[in-house]
């Protein structure tokens, strides 16, 4: 058992990979910021609903040796035909990856490979890396920036129909480990792609995934970004994604949180170019003693931006789900069009959901709508299903699944939709055992 301070100090003892000049400068800077910022306190407005004390109880060690896995171990998570990068406990696993589908117009490689000067993409990585994720303000982003071992570099230059799958696998280790996945995605003008970021835990291990992703959409680029967090329920997951959206770009995001004892995902989208369009869908499904927190921030910084958001939370057992969705329409961002909806389902008397839609509008010429609902399983629907012969449990599962399905079915990868449907059923049934 460690204290909050001890937990933080232990993370600072992590292994630092030094590589080349420019990256070392960023890492040193990030480490200094992490030391200054420390863990957020419950007085911090951005964290006040989210109890991190379970995280602080552990002493997370750096990963020092790497588990050898085979494709059979991760078979049920594979997306047939996808360009796949696999990371095991934060380390790139070439033997599990499949880049055979990466053709002209799309580069998918390990990030470390791009840090070698004169390698393909090194200039682009240097120009973009660390420029969007706020390691100056966020201790977790700072820790990731200093300690990440490897990551994914995804560069899309044209329309690509094959999905890109970044599969982050955590294994069960003797001691609790800290894992730092990192991804950098650059979409060139008018390019188009589907990206799946998938965080899974293979055995019921205790580990801490601290992930950071940066996405740059140049003018007219279109990205479908699916983020799946299905870690072990004894694990911890803190993720951050920063998106920089250029003129007339489209960013469609589906973010799912099913796993982890405590999880937090922060999504920060900045509309830098006029006419950018965001579709942000989210779903958190938690049970037992799980805590899942989703924070989103959309900055309408320039005119004619559009954002449409639907976030759902489902909480069973004594779980706690948090949603905070902030939309800021800055001075000058005229003609912004924004709609946000937060819909929530409480499955037990002890479960809790906090939802906080926040609009900050510094403009007249805008259309902003938001709404939030919290409800329970519809009693009439439940009786109807029972009157057709379904047991109470079967009927509740069906209705819960249906509530979640509205988010899941929008994912443009059919095999993933199917596998997620199974994940949801496993999670729901696991809770009642």
């Amino acid at each position: 058992m460690s204290t909050k301070e001890q937990c933080f100090e232990q993370l600072l003892l992590g292994k630092v990979v030094r590589s080349n000049g420019w990256l070392d400068d960023i890492r040193v800077d990030a480490l200094a910021r992490a030391q200054a910022l420390k863990f957020p306190s419950d007085r911090d407005d951005d964290w006040r609903f989210t109890d991190l004390s379970a995280l602080f109880q552990h002493s997370f060690q750096p990963v020092d040796s790497f588990a050898r896995l085979t494709l059979t171990d991760i078979e049920k998570y594979l997306i047939p035909g996808a360009i796949r990068l696999v990371f095991v406990d934060g380390c790139y696993a070439a033997e599990l990856s499949d880049l055979s589908q990466a053709g002209a117009g799309v580069t998918v490689t390990s990030l470390v490979d791009c840090f070698v000067p004169d390698r393909l993409g090194d200039q682009m990585v240097e120009t973009n890396f660390g420029r969007y994720a706020p390691y100056q303000q966020d201790a977790f982003v700072a820790l990731n920036t200093n300690f990440f071992e490897d990551g994914a570099w995804v560069h899309v230059a044209r329309e690509v129909t094959t999905p890109v799958h970044l599969l982050h696998v955590a294994t069960k280790r003797e001691s609790a480990s800290a894992i730092y996945p990192r991804s950098m995605v650059v979409m060139e003008p008018a390019s188009r792609a589907t990206l799946v970021e998938d965080y899974i835990g293979l055995d019921d291990g205790i580990y801490f995934t601290n992930a950071v992703t940066e996405v740059v959409l140049k003018d007219g680029a279109h990205l479908q970004h699916v983020r799946v967090q299905r870690e072990c329920t004894s694990a911890f997951h803190i993720g951050h994604c920063s998106v920089d959206a250029g003129r007339d770009s489209v960013y469609a995001s589906t973010s799912l949180a099913f796993g982890a004892r405590v999880s937090r995902h922060t999504l920060h989208v900045t509309q830098r170019g006029e006419g950018a369009e965001m579709h942000l869908d989210g779903l958190a499904l938690v049970a037992g003693r799980q805590i899942a927190d989703t924070h989103t921030l959309v900055d309408h910084a320039v005119p004619r931006g559009k954002s449409i958001q639907l976030h759902k939370c489902i909480a069973d057992g004594s779980a706690h789900a948090v949603f905070s969705g902030k939309i800021i329409v800055h001075v000058g961002a005229t003609g912004s069009d924004s709609a946000q909806s937060s819909r929530n389902l409480l499955l037990s008397d002890k479960a809790r959901i906090d939802t906080q839609p926040q609009l900050e509008i510094f403009n007249d010429d805008v259309s902003c709508k938001h709404g939030a609902t919290i409800g329970q399983i519809d009693a009439d629907a439940l009786f109807f299903l029972k009157s057709r012969g379904l047991t109470e449990e079967r009927a509740r599962n069906l209705l819960t699944h249906a509530f979640a399905a509205e988010i899941i079915v929008k994912i443009p990868v059919p095999s993933l939709v199917e596998s997620l449907g199974k994940t949801i059923l496993e999670r729901m049934n696991g809770e009642r055992k």
Partner: protein, 256 residues
């Protein structure tokens, strides 16, 4: 059809029930035999819809007295899903919409649950598709409704037809149709009634709960019961319904 040697399907004796602390049913007696069609009529508030919900086991309705046996079992000892598995079916007055659950998925789930109960093989999606495409003809429904979410965006008539489709797939011993005719135009009424008629056999039975005599022109009852003040106050043949249509309910209330 009334037959002397038919089995007793449902026997309700002196049933009393409350909803929200108010007693609505004040001693209902009803016996339904296999092969029979019964109509329960009455004004709004007479207790006829309450009666159908109590039989199906709606959790808001509490039985405070009396007994009901169904197919030889104590009905009130069974959960709603057990009643369904024993062969009881309620066609809802206001069918619920269930976004995200497809009609065909629900039908197959319900069908396979009953198959298991009857000790029969479950059907896989392809086998079930063949079955349901036969059944859907009974209610003259477009097969595209199978892929849609249950009742979502359906018109009133389509929802009622969907209830009868469920009845056709599940083949209950006793179907209770709770105001299935309400909100139907004349064409939809004819289709729903034809559907119900085609499902009648000497081994099953139907109880129609209705306000109007109109439905009974299409599904001809063997017995007509009039409910008032939480009791059945008069029982007769189909001519009783015609008399009600002509004279209204007041003369019965005065007599009771």
């Amino acid at each position: 059809m009334i037959s002397k040697d038919s089995k007793v399907m449902l026997e309700v004796k002196n049933l009393r029930a409350k909803v929200g602390g108010v007693e609505i049913l004040k001693g209902v007696d009803l016996t339904v035999n296999a092969g029979e069609v019964h109509a329960i009529m009455g004004i709004n508030g007479s207790g006829k819809s309450t009666f159908s919900k109590v039989l199906a086991g709606h959790p808001d309705y509490h039985v405070t007295g009396g007994t009901a046996s169904f197919a030889g079992k104590d009905l009130f000892a069974l959960e709603p899903e057990e009643r369904a598995r024993a062969g009881l079916f309620l066609a809802f007055q206001y069918p619920v919409e269930i976004p995200g659950v497809s009609n065909s998925a629900l039908l197959r789930l319900a069908y396979n649950t009953l198959q298991t109960e009857r000790g029969l093989e479950e059907l896989d999606p392809l086998e079930f598709e063949d079955l349901v495409h036969e059944k859907i003809k009974v209610v003259e429904m477009d097969p595209s409704f199978l892929g849609r979410s249950v009742n979502e965006g359906f018109s009133g008539g389509e929802k009622k037809r969907n209830e009868i489709l469920q009845m056709a797939v599940l083949e209950p011993k006793l179907a209770i149709l709770d105001e299935t005719d309400s909100g139907l135009d004349i064409d939809a009424l004819r289709i729903v009634a034809n559907g119900v008629n085609s499902l009648l056999t000497p081994d099953n039975a139907v109880v129609m709960v209705t306000h109007y005599q109109r439905l009974l022109n299409y599904i001809v009852p063997d017995y007509v019961h009039v409910m008032d003040g939480g009791r059945i106050v008069r029982t007769g043949g189909k001519e009783l319904a015609q008399e009600l249509e002509a004279r209204g309910y007041d003369w019965l209330r005065a007599a009771a």
